[in-house]
């Protein structure tokens, strides 16, 4: 093994570790829903290569409105799935699509894009 091979091996191993940390171990931003005057919990979510915020805390038993604004045309984020609530919605690009639901059981409910690549979750407490 010459020097360049050793460097590539070390760099590559380091990079693999970084990729693993970057995607799996890095902390997420958590947002808490704000209830409006009518008791409806409102959350605005930006959809662009992912959901931001991607972890949303909502209170149990109160209606929730998730306003998804899709700020891209990339095909991946075209569909939104909230499987536990039986919701499949198309998100038109550069528009806000509102999803309404009422969480009746505490727990963590994932929402994903049509293919399960982009993900976020709804924490019901």
């Amino acid at each position: 093994m010459d020097a360049s091979q050793i460097i590539v091996t070390l760099l590559g191993t380091g990079l693999i570790g970084f990729v693993g940390w970057f995607f799996f171990a890095a902390p997420h931003r958590v947002a808490t829903a704000v209830a409006d005057g009518g008791g409806v919990q409102q959350v605005a979510i930006q959809v662009q290569g992912g959901y931001s915020p991607d972890v949303i805390e909502v209170a149990l038993g109160q209606p929730v409105q998730l306003h998804f604004y899709r700020n891209e045309t990339a095909g991946c984020s075209e569909e939104l799935l909230l499987p536990d609530f039986g919701i499949r919605r198309e998100l038109p690009a550069f528009q806000t699509t509102t999803v309404e639901l009422r969480p009746d059981k505490p727990g963590t409910y994932p929402f994903t894009c049509g293919m399960g690549m982009l993900r976020g979750s709804l924490l019901v407490r």
Binding site: G12, F23, G37, H67, G75, R88, G116
Partner: protein
């Protein structure tokens, strides 16, 4: 698409002092955070507004206001005064989810056209780049062209492919990275980006490569071809995807656009959105029924096949229900609107199908878990591939080999196939079901239907028409039929049992001939599963099955006993009547078997299902009917409360049971069963408890539902299998695992072709379901 504006559209008249109301306005023209602050301030200062928040990203203002002091128009004026516009979606007066979202469709069409253009540009350029990159195959030609000039030429040709055709991949990958998510776009961006950057370096600084003992090869053809092929995949995918939801679009498209309404004695054509509950609507032959209602006048035959899958027209007359989107065939009629908008049967079907299409199949859990970690793991594998090749390949080739295999691994991996495997099949399957009058509640019901091995049928209303008719009325010696019948009818009029209705119908028919005045029953008692009793004309009247009489210690008497045996032998349901503690009459009732039952049951049996019947009728009746339709196992004399118990009993035998029922009585049994099928547009309760609702009231629907579910689940399994195998084989081959044994390496361009075809194959397999027919 749902907009909050539609849900919060304020009625015009609201009294002062009413509770605060919240409304969402779509604001147009805001470009920055200061704009949104400005709008927010302008709204907050408007009298009557309690609170206003503006979301710049969503372009929305959420305003809480006192309805007595300001209204929607006032809020709009305040925004306009601030210099911005309020976007008014054409909010229909009646909430109408069915309004085919033309804007959405238009946007999609535009996106598709854009995608196609980007694909065409990529193809044209790739077709030029390819042969130019192969010039080195002709040394004579190469001698005349300078290598750097050729490379710069290729670079110029590749740039538009990268920056125009492939731009979306890079933008999306970058956006994803900012959210620490990775998608298929990330793989394509990293793969093509690596090939391009390497080529760019080789073009700009070939000397550097030569000093390292490397040939300054370029991979512009790889970059361009991969992008062209992946875009081809996307074009095909988006075409196929549109087809998966075609069924539901067709359902929505069935809706009438206008209705001929009577307003102030005048016939007016009004848009469907303006039709109100209670309006009277006229329908002429050949016209579509606008919405749901009850016929007030006239009669006709209606084609309801779009809702029920039943191809024969249905006769309807005064008092019958008509449904929106059905087609009036022969006569004219007038009906009163009973449901509009989201409450119509069509809207409910669409909602149910949409919900089902949004549900997640349990079978997909593994695929979900994998796709969540798929892309990062592929990236790690690709880096590992690069490292291993660089470490092990001969010195002169190590960089190109490492690079090519790195790119191939990134490009061949296809998370899309995994992601598309289940949902596309569910979309096609549920949509197809709706067309056959089979409404599947969710993906779980589909999967259960796949596992079912036993079908339990509630006889009445499923195998039979469920509308029994009196065939014999036998009185004890010394009892006058004409005097007795009104007493029995008086009791039965209070009962809700279908057998009671038959007695009432029979009595009404007789009384029309003899014209006796109806009598009143008091102290009515329903004896569940046995019959009913009441006091009529100061006498205790009982009518029900044998058990009812036994419980009241009433003996039949030999004549009636003999007659009863005769009726039972003819498979009649026998009602026993007693007045003042004495058995006085027998009523023979028969329910006719539907014409389609026998064929449908045979179809179920040929699918390998055991069909079991259960009924509240006595053993003889049950046996006769069972024999008539080819059922060998049945339960007779089952009380309504025991129906769920029978389901449980079959489950205890290790069977997976589908229960078919039609009424409220069946709800517990439907819920108890592994799969509940509610028949005949069911009651709401039945629909709630049922995994599958059949719009058409015959057993054919059950056979169709189970066959379709099985076919759908089979398709899902094929898709998942293919997607797993594809990735499990493709990635190692692309990494060059076979190279030491066979010398095979996968060109990144072939990897791109494979990847583009893999998701298309999954989609095509799902679309194959559209050719489903029960006969297969």
């Amino acid at each position: 698409m749902s907009t909050p504006a539609a849900t919060s559209a304020a009625p015009a008249s609201t009294s002062p002092g009413a509770p605060p109301r919240t409304e969402t306005l779509h604001i147009e023209g805001m470009t920055c955070a200061s704009c949104s602050n400005f709008v927010e301030r302008a709204l907050s200062r408007t009298p009557g507004v309690l609170r206003a928040t503006v979301n710049l990203a969503a372009e929305k203002a959420t305003v809480e206001y006192t309805p007595g002091q300001i209204d929607h128009a006032g809020l709009k004026a305040a925004v306009e005064q601030a210099g911005y516009q309020v976007f008014e979606p054409q909010a229909p007066a009646a909430p109408n989810v069915l309004a085919a979202d033309e804007e959405l469709a238009e946007r999609k069409a535009r996106t598709y056209l854009d995608l196609k253009r980007r694909f065409q540009v990529a193809v044209v350029l790739a077709v030029i780049i390819m042969p130019l990159s192969m010039l080195m195959l002709w040394p004579a030609l190469m001698a005349r062209i300078s290598m750097p000039v050729l490379n710069y030429g290729l670079l110029l040709l590749t740039l538009p492919v990268l920056l125009y055709s492939g731009r979306e991949f890079y933008v999306s990958a970058w956006n994803g990275l900012r959210h620490r998510t990775a998608s298929m776009d990330t793989l394509i961006a990293v793969g093509t980006g690596a090939a391009f950057l390497y080529s760019l370096a080789a073009t700009v600084a070939p000397g550097f490569f030569q000093r390292q003992g490397l040939a300054p090869d370029v991979y512009y053809d790889t970059t361009a071809t991969i992008i062209a092929l992946i875009l081809l995949g996307k074009v095909l995918e988006s075409r196929a995807k549109a087809k998966t939801s075609a069924a539901i679009k067709a359902l929505i498209g069935l809706q009438a656009k206008t209705a001929r309404v009577l307003r102030g004695g005048q016939e007016v054509d009004v848009p469907l959105e303006q039709v109100r509950h209670g309006d009277e609507v006229l329908v002429r032959p050949g016209e579509k029924v606008a919405t749901d209602g009850l016929i007030l006048e006239g009669r006709s035959a209606l084609d309801e096949s779009m809702l029920t899958g039943e191809s024969l027209p249905v006769e309807k007359s005064v008092g019958d229900q008509v449904f929106g989107a059905t087609i009036n065939k022969t006569g004219s009629f007038r009906f009163r609107v009973s449901q509009v908008g989201t409450n119509t049967v069509l809207a409910q079907i669409v909602k149910l199908v949409e919900d089902a299409q949004g549900s997640r199949a349990p079978i997909q859990r593994l695929a979900d878990k994998i796709s969540a970690v798929f892309v990062p793991i592929v990236i790690m594998l690709a880096i590992a591939t690069f490292v291993v090749w660089f470490a092990l390949a001969p010195a002169g080739q190590r960089l190109p080999l490492a690079l090519v295999n790195f790119v191939a691994v990134l490009i061949i991996a296809c998370p899309c196939a995994l992601g598309l495997a289940t949902p596309t099949a569910i979309m096609v399957g549920t949509g197809l079901g709706a067309r056959h009058g089979v409404l599947i509640r969710n993906a779980e019901a589909l999967e259960k239907a796949y596992q079912v091995d036993t079908v339990l049928l509630d006889k009445t209303g499923t195998i039979t028409k469920g509308e029994p008719a009196v065939t014999e009325f036998i009185t004890a010696p010394g009892t006058a039929p004409a005097a007795l019948l009104p007493l029995l009818a008086a009791v039965e009029r209070r009962s809700e049992h279908p057998l009671a209705a038959a007695v009432v119908r029979y009595a009404d028919l007789q009384q029309q001939q003899v014209r006796t005045a109806p009598v009143e029953a008091t102290d009515f008692v329903a004896h569940e599963g046995r019959g009913a009793g009441a006091t009529v004309a100061e006498q205790t009247v009982l009518i029900g099955n044998r058990r009812l009489l036994d419980e009241h210690n009433i003996m039949l008497g030999s004549e009636l006993e003999l007659a009863a045996d005769g009726l039972l032998a003819q498979a009649r349901t026998v009602l026993y009547a007693a007045v003042a503690g004495r058995a006085v009459a027998l009523v023979g009732v028969a329910d006719t078997v539907r014409d389609t039952s026998e064929t449908a049951i045979r179809q179920l049996q040929s699918q390998g299902l055991e069909v079991v019947m259960m009924t509240g009728d006595n053993h003889q009746t049950a046996e006769k009917v069972a024999a008539q339709v080819g059922i060998s196992r049945f339960y007779a004399e089952v009380l309504p409360a025991d129906k769920a118990g029978k389901v449980q009993q079959l489950q205890a035998e290790g069977r997976t049971v589908a229960m078919v029922g039609d009424g409220i009585n069946d709800a517990p049994a439907l819920a108890r069963a592994d799969l509940g099928l509610a028949m005949g547009a069911g009651t709401d309760v039945a629909m709630e408890a049922a995994g599958i609702t059949l719009m058409r009231s015959d057993l054919q629907g059950v056979a169709t539902a189970i066959a379709l579910s099985r076919q759908t689940v089979r398709t899902i399994r094929q898709n998942l299998f293919f997607a797993f195998i594809y990735n499990a084989l493709g990635i190692p081959i692309a990494a060059g695992l076979l190279y030491p044994f066979t010398g095979w390496l996968l060109s990144p361009m072939l990897a791109a072709a494979a990847m583009a075809l893999s998701s298309v194959s999954v989609l095509t397999n799902s679309l194959r379901l559209r050719g489903f027919s029960i006969e297969k």
